[in-house]
């Protein structure tokens, strides 16, 4: 339990996060399905869509981890269980896309 947090405080922050998650879900749908970039932007438009979608997803994920999974309140060492796998995932993807290119 977070230092100095009462049950009511916790409940409030849960609901706030819940609200934010809903809003972000809406945002990501709107951005992907109802925002269209000009035809002339070509591939850039896909890149923009992907970037926006991923940024929103990361933000949502962070909120879940931070509040629902108590990373904000818990022992800070628990964060390594998030950072290390994420780092390895980045290594894998970086090697295969940036260094590897089309031939892998």
């Amino acid at each position: 339990m977070g230092a100095g947090m009462t049950a009511a405080d916790m409940q409030k922050s849960y609901i706030k996060i819940f609200g934010a998650l809903m809003v972000f879900t809406l945002l990501t749908i709107v951005a992907a399905k109802f925002v269209h970039f000009p035809e002339s932007w070509g591939g850039l438009s896909t890149i923009l869509h992907v970037t926006i979608g991923l940024i929103i997803a990361i933000a949502k994920a962070w909120m879940v981890v931070y509040v629902f999974m108590h990373i904000k309140f818990d022992n800070p060492y628990l964060r390594v269980f998030i950072y290390i796998p994420l780092f390895l995932f980045c290594v894998l993807v970086f090697a295969l896309t940036v260094l590897g290119g089309p031939t892998l």
Partner: protein
């Protein structure tokens, strides 16, 4: 067993026998709970050990079939040949299809069912709780599940021999598209998924145990190197294995549904038809066979360190104990293990120099692989530093540990050849690689495992093994091992490919037949030398001398436990006062100073007596 053993530390007279407590455990639990579905870490360790030794025989038998075929192609396998069904052998001689199955199963069994379960199953289970001074694992039930997944997986994979088309035959690396069809390959994938899960559950448990259950006063830097190595290895298991699991799952989807994840467009089957694949013309989408290789090696390179790091830990402990000297550079050793583990995750591509990957990626992997040799060198030099000015006792465990150093250096150095991309272009997929594999896996891991088995045998079974037989086993194995595997470097340089059923189809390989026969003779001798181990193991169980509590006069906590510890492990409270390698310390008149001895008691002679009884 004398009762003086206990409670001397606390200064009051011992009141009960170490065994009383042990016996107590007997009648409160049923046979099934005690021997089959036991949650006691020592029992699970023994289960891992037995299953691995059994699989060692199976894998070894496969190896001998392989060797026979290579040396005497087309000639019936002696003794066994006539019992095998005609689908596998023709008039007793190994058929090509059977050969590839043998190679695959040999390596699969050895890696997934011998070395990994032995290192991270048997040793981790036995050593971690005892060496950190606690009663059991953090999650005993999960520990039990982790063991029982192994035989289930083993049966799954082995059942491949009885299905149509035979068992997996695409090498232990199981590259698609070759592995993307056939029941045997599906069973292989399922089996690997299961052992992988076992490995993850085990790793979880070891991490939680080491982090959470250390005895009073034990800091991380008071851990013996075995525990450190197992700790880091668990990190590799937890983070690496799931990637193998996802690669296996995707391969399974390709095998069952032909989704075309690893199967490119419009492939032909041997009969000339189109390979059923979601990627075929009309459905679109080309799979990437090389993607599988990346995912596979992202696990399997760290996996080779899963197989060697615990062993390096064991060797460190054995060496220090029998050289009666502290580990040279304890912290450097720990950091080297960490560095190996970290770098182990960024070098996987060195198995794929020839997969057609981008040359830039090749350069990256080449450099990172070469860098990984540095922490390994640190370890080698520190071991040498450890025995330097020591007082070396040549017990069987120590002989095996010294043998480990000698052979591992050779295996590691051949790794450096292959790490260099342009050289690998020539020696990739030749017997040079096979030589490397066996120098690091047999010469490295297995010798270390032997060292560990002998070293902890007294604590595991409460009996001493037979020292003469042990030395005999080591000497024979060491000699036959080198004579068997060293010549493989030479034919490898000669261009002798791996995984070929009959090398003499090629003109340029014909001259190598005598060498192959030489290798085979020593392989057979080596195989039979292992019978000594089995015999010693079983004989000593029954007739061995009862072991004292601390037969090696070692410092780590497992030797504080009763000679044959029961459920709960210790018969006294454990508090740690110092590091694990206080040999020849000036604080004490004896040449060792265990971790659990209170500073005030160091000079009490009865403590020593208690250890010796």
């Amino acid at each position: 067993m004398s009762a003086v053993a206990t409670h001397l530390e606390q200064g009051h007279a011992a009141t009960h026998d170490a065994h009383a407590h042990h016996d107590h455990a007997h009648h409160s639990v049923s046979f099934i709970r005690k021997y089959i579905f036991s949650t006691d870490h020592k029992q699970i360790a023994k289960q891992f050990l037995t299953s691995s030794l059994f699989f060692l025989l199976v894998g070894g038998a496969f190896a001998l079939f392989i060797r026979w075929q290579i040396a005497y192609p087309g000639e019936p396998i002696p003794v066994v040949g006539k019992w095998l069904p005609d689908t596998l052998v023709s008039s007793g001689a190994v058929q090509p299809g059977f050969y590839t199955q043998l190679v695959t199963m040999h390596a699969t069994v050895m890696i997934f069912f011998v070395i990994i379960p032995m290192a991270t199953g048997a040793f981790a289970n036995f050593c971690i709780p005892l060496m950190i001074g606690t009663d059991d694992m953090a999650m005993p039930t999960i520990n039990m599940i982790s063991f029982w997944l192994v035989p289930v997986a083993g049966l799954t994979i082995m059942s491949g021999f009885f299905v149509e088309g035979g068992t997996a035959a695409a090498g232990w690396t199981n590259y698609p598209p070759l592995s993307a069809s056939g029941t045997g390959h599906m069973l292989w994938v399922i089996g690997i998924f299961l052992v992988g899960f076992s490995s993850i559950l085990g790793g979880m448990n070891y991490l939680a145990t080491v982090l959470n259950k250390r005895a009073k006063g034990m800091r991380m830097f008071d851990l013996p190197l075995t525990v450190w190595a197992l700790f880091i290895t668990s990190v590799l298991q937890v983070l690496g294995t799931p990637v193998l699991a996802s690669a296996a799952s995707l391969l399974f989807v390709d095998q069952v549904f032909h989704a075309g994840i690893f199967i490119p467009e419009n492939l032909l089957t041997p009969t000339g038809g189109l390979f059923p694949s979601g990627a075929n013309v009309g459905s679109g989408g080309g799979g990437q066979p090389v993607l599988f290789q990346h995912l596979f090696w992202f696990y399997s390179h760290p996996a080779v360190y899963i197989m060697i790091l615990p062993i390096m830990g064991v060797v460190s402990d054995v060496l220090a104990t029998f050289a009666r000297k502290a580990i040279f550079g304890y912290k450097a050793m720990v950091f080297a293990v960490m560095a190996i583990a970290f770098l182990g995750f960024v070098v996987w591509g060195h198995h794929m120099f020839l997969s057609g990957m981008s040359p830039l990626l090749g350069t990256t992997f080449m450099l990172s692989t070469i860098v990984i040799a540095v922490p390994s060198s640190i370890k080698i030099f520190n071991w040498l530093g450890t025995i330097w000015k020591g007082n070396i006792h040549f017990t069987t465990p120590n002989l095996n540990a010294l043998g480990f150093i000698s052979t591992f250096v050779c295996g590691g150095l051949s790794g450096v050849f292959m790490a260099i991309g342009p050289i690998d272009v020539y020696i990739h997929d030749t017997y040079f690689i096979v030589a490397h594999i066996h120098y690091v896996l047999f010469g490295g891991a297995l010798f270390g495992i032997f060292a560990g088995i002998y070293y902890w045998y007294p604590k595991m079974f409460g009996k001493m093994y037979n020292e003469t037989l042990g030395k005999f086993h080591f000497a024979l194995t060491f000699i036959t091992f080198n004579l068997c595997f060293f010549p493989m470097h030479m034919i490898g340089v000669g261009g002798h490919m791996r995984r070929i059923h009959d090398p003499y189809v090629y003109e340029f390989l014909k001259p190598f037949q005598p060498i192959n026969q030489f290798i085979t003779i020593f392989a057979i001798l080596m195989g039979f030398s292992q019978l000594i181990l089995i015999f010693n193991f079983l004989w000593s169980l029954k007739f061995g001398r009862p072991a004292p509590r601390n037969p090696w006069r070692a410092n780590t906590l497992e030797w504080a436990a009763p000679a044959h510890p029961g459920h709960g492990n210790f018969d006294r409270d454990i508090t740690v006062y110092r590091g694990p390698y206080e040999f020849a310390s000036p604080e004490s008149k004896r040449d060792y100073l265990p971790q659990w001895i209170r500073p005030a008691h160091i000079e009490k002679e009865e403590v020593v007596a208690a250890e010796k009884h």
